[in-house]
Amino acid sequence: MDHMLSLIIFFPFVAGLLGFLVNKESIRSYGVVIAGIEFLLSIGLWIAFDTANAGYQFVEFSALIPSFGMSYYLGVDGISLFLVVLSTFTVLVSLIALNIDNDVKNLIIAVLFLEMTMVAVFLCLDVILFYAFWELSLVPMLYIIGAWGSANRVYAAIKFFLYTFAGSVLMLVGILYLGYLYFQATGVWSFSLPDWYLVQLPFNVQLWLFGAFFLAFAIKVPMFPFHTWLPYAHGQAPTIGSVILAAVLLKMGSYGFVRFSLPLFPDATVYFVYPIAIIAVIMVIYAAMVAYAQEDMKQVIAYSSISHMGIVVLGTFALNAEGITGSIFLMLSHGIVSGALFMLVGVIYDRRHTKLMSEFGGLATVMPNFATVYGIMLMASVGLPLTIGFVGEFLSLAGFYRVDWLVTMLAGSGIILGAVYMLSLYKKSFFGVVTKEENRTLKDLNAKELFALVPMVALVIALGVYPKPVLDTIDISVKKMIVLMEAKAIHVETKAFLINANSIGEVQ
């Protein structure tokens, strides 16, 4: 399979183009079938993936603009493998659970295009190509939010688009500057990431470039104070939009940190560890508090996303194997859990056309299956041991504990706060007596919804109990990256920091 990765990237694109020819009546099944095949392809990738190899696999390289050093360069390693699987999985389940009837053909084609861009972002090793797909992923999402969202959808879509687009233009200057530095150092133009990994940069250059990349990633994650677009986008987006946005698009930002910021600018990364950790703590606590104050179920989950992404960022900037591996695992678990939660909110919204918690109460008696699935996802979101949420959160915090225990304690309070707002949500909506008459007749989960949600529940428990196969695969690539960071660092303090963060401590 020489062109496995190209196949995974362009299969949904071609299928999307051909989708224009498929009749409106059959398009829904078409979408599910395509997403299913794509998911199987990504599973095939996982099976064929050599877990003992830390480097890039299935590499494809062909020059695209050789005189400018731009190439078609793909590869997958432990860091990106599961994000690809997560993307295809999310698209599949969200298409299964899809219940939108107007213009469904355009929607499904847009989702397939989006799938191409998401997968490509994780697989591209050429930075210009990465940037191209990074920007391109905004377009289908703009359309999905803007065309199928609720009342204020156009505003939310524009805000989402402009915010993220404007954020990443500086990254383009950064990319071009780095390309120029590479040219100066070697006399050859190249925009391929593995080549760039080999260049040592002066400290002040690292600072500037780190800033340029950071802004793009921070807006995408979204990090405080650039998070304001997210509640809007989630509030207005249709269920499928929210699911994909929360499960995959946000991960592009945190993936960017791991793939670009850390290995390219090790000294700047270490220099900025504390400021970023403080921002991450603010994200965790502040977003949790805001989540508690929400009356809209979907907003609670939207803010909880920000809170959890705070822990992801913290884990990444722990700069040790536990922290980074944990944060990548947390990206996966948050993808599954928040995706499922948004889907569940969509389920109840379709039945009642409201997301306000005050409109519900006692749902557990009316919709037992719904309440059960919701409960499991909620526990996973809070980070209950033996659910998927616990593993990543624990490892991320354990990783940062080596760096600073105080910050870790503060961030750890996010778990408690998470339990507070999530359980209060659950209490308000599911427990007690049924107060509203219209809630008595609500139907429980139907077959389609169960079919989408049950695999997620299974994953939440299975990976919560036994995360080892996934963790090991991630870990080996992460360790390789940390070695690279240490080798590349130009300051002695950076090396010392990295060694300190990656060892248990000296014997006195």
């Binding site: 603009i65 005189s67 940037y131 120029y180």
Partner: protein, 493 residues
């Protein structure tokens, strides 16, 4: 030097590209006298064939050659820009074969004038003699004024008059500037001027400054650089869409080439204020046009401001002045040409006899409301052009932008690069506005028929071609870049 002028020293072949089109134009006029009522398709195809013939001759040149008392200079950038001019013309002329009939396309004069206009631009780019450039400029401009007026609408007359009066002013500035440089150096040849000024270390500085400022005003008018951009939206709005699109491409590339020749000479002087002036022009043109475009209510006017902003963007290449930047200018303009061809052809296709949507404007944004529900393919194609113009990867203009920004970064213009990308971010908004109307709003029209009154197979083919180029631009960047860089280096820029 003998007293005789030998025929071979004239190097007549250097004039061949212009001669073919002059012959073509005269031929069209003659045939019109001989045979009455020939169909527009005849003239259109005939003009295109003359252009193709010309292109064939042009491609045969390589290396710089001078001719005609050294006034004509066919060097790399001259060949390159002539190719762009001819290819653009070959695509814009067939837009006359629209479904509806317009009076100007029935007249042979239209085609003759069109060819004369091309000849003017060709002279403009293939000379470093200020007088020949001036003659080329005026030939082209006078033909263009007439072409606009031929459209035979009240707005078209207004546009032609406005363009003419402003153009006359610019022509005056150009003449004045040439005069000052002649007075300073006793020559109108750019390279002689350069040599003399260098020898004198650019003294007296105030006179050089005056000449430069007049030249900037004159070229700025052609390039629609702020502050001499005010004619652009009105003239674009008044002219037919094909001509408006044409104006956004061809006169500007001609202007760029002249600017390149002229400023390359002055930049060599290391006069710091010149860099400041250019820097200011670039930044103001990009930014102001972008901001003004944000509030436009008409798509054509929006595209007019967008083309001003693109011109400002590309002008930065002249400021940067490296080979990479100059190659980037041509790469950008070639890619921009196809995208703008597509965008303006789309406006031409959706043109309706009456202003159905708005009293004032022919193409208000609301006209395109919910177009995706009525004509998904058309809306998608229009969307592709808009995103391409916005510099969205991986569509055409992005690669031009990338290369130019890279040129800026490589020569230490980091702040300029940042201003350029920030402007791209601003620009996204107004292109997106059209997308929002097309994709996110409810349709205003009940049937797609109102959008198709002017669509013909020819137009669809042209749009289809432009779409394919815009979409698959990444594949063409390398070959274009190789050719462009070769020619730019060849002419020493």
């Amino acid at each position: 030097m003998s007293d005789f002028i030998s025929l071979s020293s004239l190097n007549i072949p250097s004039l061949l590209p212009m001669a073919i089109l002059v012959f073509g134009a005269l031929f069209i006029i003659c045939i019109d006298l001989a045979v009455k009522n020939l169909n527009r398709s005849f003239y259109t195809i005939l003009s295109v064939l003359f252009i193709v013939l010309d292109l064939g001759v042009l491609i045969g040149y390589n290396g710089a050659s001078r001719g005609f008392f050294d006034t004509v200079l066919v060097d790399g950038i001259a060949i390159l820009s002539q190719c762009i001019i001819l290819i653009a013309s070959a695509f814009f002329i067939p837009l006359s074969l629209s479904n509806r009939h317009f009076k100007e396309y029935e007249m042979a004069e239209y085609y003759a004038l069109f060819l004369f206009m091309i000849v003017g631009f060709q002279f403009m780019v293939s000379s470093d003699n200020l007088i020949v450039i001036f003659i080329g400029l005026e030939t082209a401009s006078l033909s263009l004024y007439t072409l606009i007026a031929l459209h035979n609408r009240a707005k078209a007359f207004e546009a032609a008059i406005k363009y003419f009066t402003m153009g006359a002013l610019a022509a005056g500035f150009f003449a004045l500037s040439s005069l000052i440089f002649y007075a300073l150096t006793g020559s109108v040849e750019i390279n002689t001027i350069e040599a003399v000024l260098k020898e004198r270390e650019f003294q007296p500085l105030s006179a050089v400054l005056a000449g430069t400022v007049f030249m900037i005003a004159a070229l700025g008018f052609k390039l629609s650089v702020v502050p001499s951009h005010t004619w652009t939206p009105d003239v674009y709005e008044g002219s037919s869409a094909p001509l408006a699109g044409y104006m956004s491409i061809v006169p500007k590339i001609a202007g760029f080439v002249v600017a390149m020749r002229f400023f390359e000479m002055l930049i060599a002087s290391d006069i710091i204020w010149l860099e400041y002036i250019l820097y200011g022009l670039v930044v103001i043109t990009m930014t102001l046009a972008n901001i003004t475009a944000l509030v436009q209510e008409d798509v054509k006017r929006m595209l007019a401001f967008s083309s001003i902003s693109h011109a400002g963007f590309v002008l930065s290449a002249i400021l940067i002045g490296t080979t990479q930047a100059n190659a980037g200018l041509f790469l950008y303009w070639i890619l921009f040409m196809f995208t703008n061809l597509g965008a303006f052809s789309m406006l031409w296709i959706v043109r309706h006899k009456n202003n159905l949507w708005d009293e004032r404007y022919q193409h208000p944004f609301s006209k395109f409301s919910g177009m995706v529900k009525l004509m998904p393919t058309t809306a998608t194609i229009m969307g592709v052009f808009m995103f391409a113009l916005a510099g969205m990867p991986p569509f055409s203009v992005f690669w031009g932008k990338l290369y130019l920004i890279s040129a800026a970064v490589n020569s230490g213009f980091i702040y300029l690069a940042v201003i350029m990308v920030v402007n791209s971010a601003i620009a996204v908004y107004y292109y997106m506005k059209l997308m929002i109307y097309m994709f996110l709003k409810e349709p205003v029209a009940n049937t797609s028929a109102v959008y198709e009154t002017n669509a013909s197979t020819t137009l669809k083919v042209i749009v289809g071609f432009a779409t394919v180029v815009t979409l698959s631009a990444v594949l063409f960047v390398e070959p274009i870049l190789n050719i462009v860089t070769k020619f730019v280096i060849l002419s020493g820029f």
